[in-house]
């Protein structure tokens, strides 16, 4: 009796355990598509895979453009994938991880920061497609400033078509300016005029207020000041080539002769006395309480602080308008002006566009997507609000800024027309290492005495040498 009870108990236990094991195996088998990601719509079904920086919601926001594209090309399935990242550098790291995992997207939306990294390592040139579809593309290039296009030239080949862009202009809070007795700055205001304006703002707002807020990054940090002073922290040269594009699409442009095969940033330039002079100017702003010590990777709270009147001025591009509007600023509560003049009034800009990956399964389909995305129809679907500045001049119009401001929205595109030497973010293929070298030394350079500034610039020069020496 006892014996049979024990046997029954053992069989029952083993059966239960066996059933449990089988259950786990069954569940694993049933969820295999989920575990391996093969159930994701568009994966492994021949869809054109497009990666953009953003959330799933950002990807979904492009659905109208995708639908319009599918009406034109029903044979091409499209899957837009939003990849969340802190900044472009982080986004590119994630794309590289996808490449390493053997699952690269076919098309990637790449900003200036990564343009040369992609051109050098990952992207397929658009030259053959542009030559083939030159007639169809004529209208696009007629509407886009050549400076934006040149930013995507690399050693004579074009790798992307600019879709949107932003220059580092100077935003100011009009109410705060008025309270300090300041009017709109002149178009050609100098760095000393700028400093005087900050001093007036500080005098009118002694505490809890920052006259000039700036961030420590490649765009909008120290670089616009370096450009304005006719220098940069890297040497800037131009590659030969690219005539095939300039002669075909910009033959009559006044700046045709100045166009090249793309920018080259191949050596450090932090030892240039003008770089010291520029940093010293910023150090003076920090010391006198006119500007903040810039935090590394900062700027997250900037819109709210600016909208609440706690910041007087800050450099930003057209991408800021919608954010300020959403934060409650009226069209006349803020305005934008060109960056101050120093030795020059050269501005800094960044642009973005789609790049075809070398590994793309169907490059022709990828080109059709890029060509469609460059059309006015697609751009109006994607850039319906001023969250950025469209690359097409004709779209930067009264309607885009109606009811939102700024009053002088023309400053955005005029930056390119008025200052034709305006250049892109200096981003060689080693951009991530270069950016790290720059931002890690900026805070120290502007936070201490002159000796600390010299030491920080010497370190910057060494760090840049190391960053540029490394293979990209």
């Amino acid at each position: 009796m006892v014996d049979s009870t024990v046997r029954l108990r053992e069989i029952s236990r083993r059966s239960a355990l066996g059933a449990l094991g089988l259950g786990i195996l069954g569940a694993t088998a049933a969820s295999w598509p989920r575990l391996t990601g093969t159930d994701i719509p568009g994966r492994n079904d021949g869809s054109l895979s497009i990666a953009i920086l953003g959330t799933a919601a950002d990807a979904a926001a492009r659905q109208k453009a995708v639908d319009a594209f599918r009406r034109l090309h029903p044979e091409i399935k499209v899957r837009v994938q939003g990849i969340q990242a802190v900044d472009w550098k982080d986004f590119f790291s994630k794309i590289l991880t996808m490449v390493a995992a053997g699952n690269p997207p076919d098309v990637v939306y790449v900003a200036t920061e990564g343009a040369q990294l992609f051109a050098e390592k990952l992207a397929h040139p658009l030259d053959e497609y542009l030559r083939r579809d030159a007639a169809a593309m004529q209208e696009y290039f007629a509407d886009v400033h050549p400076s934006l296009v040149e930013a995507f030239m690399y050693r004579g080949s074009l790798y992307q078509l600019p879709m949107d862009w932003n220059a580092a202009n100077m935003y100011y809070n009009t109410k705060v300016f008025a309270a300090a007795g300041l009017g709109r700055p002149a178009d050609d205001w100098t760095q000393q005029d700028f400093r005087a304006a900050l001093a007036a703002l500080r005098k009118a707002n002694p505490g809890g207020f920052t006259p000039y807020y700036w961030t420590n990054r490649l765009f909008g940090g120290v670089v616009p000041w370096l450009y304005a002073n006719g220098t940069s922290f890297l040497t800037e040269q131009r590659a030969s080539g690219g005539d095939w594009l300039w002669d075909r699409f910009y033959a009559k442009d006044p700046s045709r002769s100045a166009r090249s095969g793309g920018y080259l940033w191949e050596a450090p330039n932090a030892a240039d006395p003008k770089v010291f002079e520029t940093f010293d100017f910023l150090r003076g702003l920090v010391q006198d309480g006119l500007g903040v010590r810039p935090e590394e990777g900062g700027g997250n709270s900037l819109v709210g602080l600016f909208a609440s009147g706690r910041i007087g001025t800050t450099p930003a591009g057209g991408y800021w308008v919608q954010g300020l509007h959403s934060a409650g600023m009226g069209a006349s509560d803020f305005d934008v002006q060109f960056f101050p003049r120093w030795a020059t009034q050269r501005h800094q800009f960044g642009t973005a566009g789609y790049a075809i990956m070398k590994t793309a399964k169907d490059k022709d389909a990828a080109w059709e997507w890029i060509k469609f995305s460059a059309s006015r129809e697609a751009m109006e679907l994607v850039f319906s609000t001023p969250t950025t500045t469209p690359a097409r001049r004709s779209m930067v119009n009264e309607a885009l800024y109606a009811g939102k401001g700024p009053a002088h929205w023309k400053v955005f595109y005029d930056t390119l027309d008025r200052f034709p030497t305006t250049g892109p973010i200096p981003a060689p293929p080693q951009q991530a290492a270069v950016e790290t070298a720059l931002i890690k030394n900026v805070s120290l350079a502007v936070s201490g005495d002159e000796r600390q500034l010299k030491s920080a610039l010497a370190t910057l020069q060494q760090d840049l040498e190391l960053a540029l020496r490394r293979a990209a």
Binding site: V2, E295, L444, R470
Partner: protein, 322 residues
């Protein structure tokens, strides 16, 4: 009395079916034993697979990769010990390792000190229901994402607009550049790290303290040990095994610190808060030097192993097992 609860084999009745089975021939296992072994492997398989795939394989692959140059895009090229030579000559790596060791020295002492102090306070001074509350409250930061906490803290410690400087301002203290000076940023990184991590050590210490018999303290009191002497001569020796475990875990975790300095300061200003794991991340995913990043990882692994071995060696002198 059930046979299942017999305290030892000799007490089991002869009706036990396991006893009555004939012995298996030499070299073969009985069917039931073979079945049990099968079952054991099935149950061990997920752990073995998980450890093999996600721990052992990456370690081996990482060590192997340290001898190659690889940028993720092109095929890896054998480089011998070039990556290790590169690591030895890289000033940023040296600074990052120095920062990491300094961070560990300060953060771990603070973490264990705060955890032990609060555990003593909660154990001795608070009623049981409040103990339960504080157990959860102090552990809570640990379950939060380190990145989210760091983003939040970044706002709090902002020089111009942060709540911390606002509070200091209310008592006449001028704004402190928390995140833009080397001393300030290192202090904030340590503070945020300790705040988020002391809860685990606190729980360990609380458990150890509650297991000390009250009679031991009574005997110590009779011998004249009260106040601090009681803790120094009774409490600390009795919880020393827990202190060893807590310190080993705290040091291993602190040597791998990444989230807090990455989000709060990005390693700056300068290299003042750059840590070893940050350099690994930057070398691999920003500079695309995966071989060199692996070499730094191997050096860090050896450092962790050496520190842990040293701790266990020292524990023979300082740890008291009852």
């Amino acid at each position: 009395m059930s046979t299942a609860v017999a305290p030892d084999a000799s007490a089991q009745p002869v009706t036990d079916n396991r006893r009555r089975r004939p012995a298996a021939p030499a070299g073969t296992a009985p069917a039931a034993s073979r079945g049990s072994r099968w079952l054991a492997w099935i149950f061990l398989a997920p752990t073995i697979l998980g450890m093999g795939l996600f721990t052992l394989l990456p370690i081996v692959a990482s060590i192997a990769l340290a001898f190659f140059r690889w940028d993720i895009i092109s095929a890896p090229q054998f480089a011998g010990v070039a990556n290790f030579v590169d690591v030895a000559g890289d000033p940023t790596v040296r600074i990052a390792f120095g920062n990491t060791i300094g961070f560990v020295a300060v953060a771990v002492v603070l973490q264990l000190g705060v955890a032990l102090g609060l555990a003593l306070l909660v154990q001795e001074r608070l009623p049981n229901w409040l103990r339960v509350f504080f157990r959860s409250a102090f552990f809570f930061p640990l379950i939060l994402s380190a990145a989210s906490v760091s983003i939040f803290m970044k706002y709090l410690f902002n020089e111009q607009f942060g709540v911390v400087n606002w509070l200091l301002g209310t008592v006449g203290i001028p704004a402190v550049p928390w995140l833009t000076t080397p001393v300030g940023s290192a202090s904030v990184v340590i503070l945020v790290y300790v705040w988020q991590n002391f809860g685990f050590s606190f729980l360990l210490f609380l458990g150890a303290l509650s297991s000390i018999p009250q009679e031991t303290y009574e005997a110590a009191a009779l011998d004249g040990a009260t106040g601090w002497r009681k803790h120094v001569h009774v409490t600390l020796p009795l919880i020393s095994p827990t202190t060893l475990v807590a310190s080993v875990m705290a040091i291993i975790n602190a040597l791998q610190v990444f989230d807090q300095p990455y989000v709060l300061t990005r390693g700056g200003p300068g290299d003042s808060t750059r840590t070893a794991v940050m350099v690994i991340f930057e070398t691999a995913f920003q500079r695309l030097e995966f071989g060199k990043a692996s070499a730094i990882g191997v050096v860090l692994m050896l450092l962790i192993m050496a520190v842990t071995a040293l701790q266990f060696r020292l524990s023979k002198r300082f740890v008291f097992y009852q």
